[in-house]
C-alpha cells in the first residue's frame, strides 16, 4: 500500500524520530510505513491522518 506519510512529514519539517514520538511508535515503524514495508493498523492509520489533518484515504492508497 502506498502512502503520503513521507511527503507530509517532510513538508511539516519533521524527522522520522519526531513523528514517531508524536504518534507514540518507534522511528523504525515510521520508516517501515514510509517505505511501504508495513501497513499500519486502522487506529494508527487514523492517528497518522489526524496528525496531518487529512483523511485516511488521502494518506493511504491501495496499489492500482
Amino acid at each position: 500500500m502506498e502512502n503520503e506519510v513521507k511527503q507530509r512529514r517532510e513538508a511539516a519539517g519533521l524527522s522520522q524520530r519526531e513523528l514517531a514520538e508524536r504518534l507514540g511508535v518507534s522511528r523504525q515503524t515510521v520508516n517501515s510505513i514510509e517505505t511501504g514495508k508495513y501497513d499500519p493498523s486502522l487506529p494508527l492509520a487514523i492517528a497518522i491522518a489526524r496528525f496531518f489533518e487529512a483523511s485516511v484515504e488521502e494518506m493511504f492508497h491501495v496499489d492500482a
Partner: protein, 143 residues
C-alpha cells in the same frame, strides 16, 4: 486515540522483577538438575539461563539508552513495544511454533532408531532457537 509508545522508555520495575524471578528460577532449576540430572546438564542450565537473562537485560538497556539501534525484541523487553514490534514478534514465533511440530517428530524418530536422547533433545533445542532467530531477523527486514 493513543498508541503504545515505541519510543518512550517503558517502566523498568516489571523488567527488574522479571529478571530477579528468572534468576531465582535458573539458580534453583540449575542446582536441582546439577544434583539429580545426567552429566553436566545442571551447568548447562545455569550457563544458558544466565546468558539468556543477561541478553534480556542488555536488550532492554539498548532500548532505553540507544533507541535508534534497538529492535522490536529490545523494545518488548523494555516494555515500549509498538504495534509493528508485536507483529514482527508474532510472525517469528508463529514460524517457530509451526516448525516445532515436524522437528519434534524428527527428533522422536531419531531417538526411536537409536540416536541418544540427550543429543536429539540438544539438537532439537538449538534447531528451534536457530529457526526463531532466522525468522525474527527475516521479519525485521521484511517490515
Amino acid at each position: 486515540m493513543s498508541m503504545r509508545n515505541g519510543s518512550a522508555p517503558g517502566k523498568r520495575a516489571p523488567l527488574v522483577v522479571g529478571l530477579l524471578a528468572g534468576a531465582a528460577v535458573v539458580v534453583v532449576l540449575g542446582l536441582l538438575v546439577r544434583e539429580f540430572g545426567p552429566g553436566n546438564m545442571g551447568n548447562g542450565v545455569l550457563a544458558g539461563g544466565s546468558i539468556a537473562l543477561l541478553g534480556i537485560g542488555a536488550a532492554a538497556w539498548r532500548a532505553w539508552h540507544r533507541p535508534d539501534d534497538a529492535g522490536p525484541l529490545d523494545r518488548h523487553f523494555a516494555g515500549s513495544a509498538d504495534e509493528r514490534d508485536a507483529v514482527v514478534l508474532t510472525r517469528a514465533l508463529a514460524v517457530a511454533g509451526v516448525t516445532a511440530l515436524p522437528l519434534t517428530g524428527l527428533a522422536t524418530v531419531a531417538i526411536a532408531v537409536g540416536l541418544r536422547w540427550d543429543i536429539a533433545l540438544a539438537v532439537l533445542l538449538f534447531a528451534q532457537l536457530a529457526i526463531l532467530v532466522v525468522a525474527y531477523r527475516r521479519e525485521v527486514v521484511r517490515g
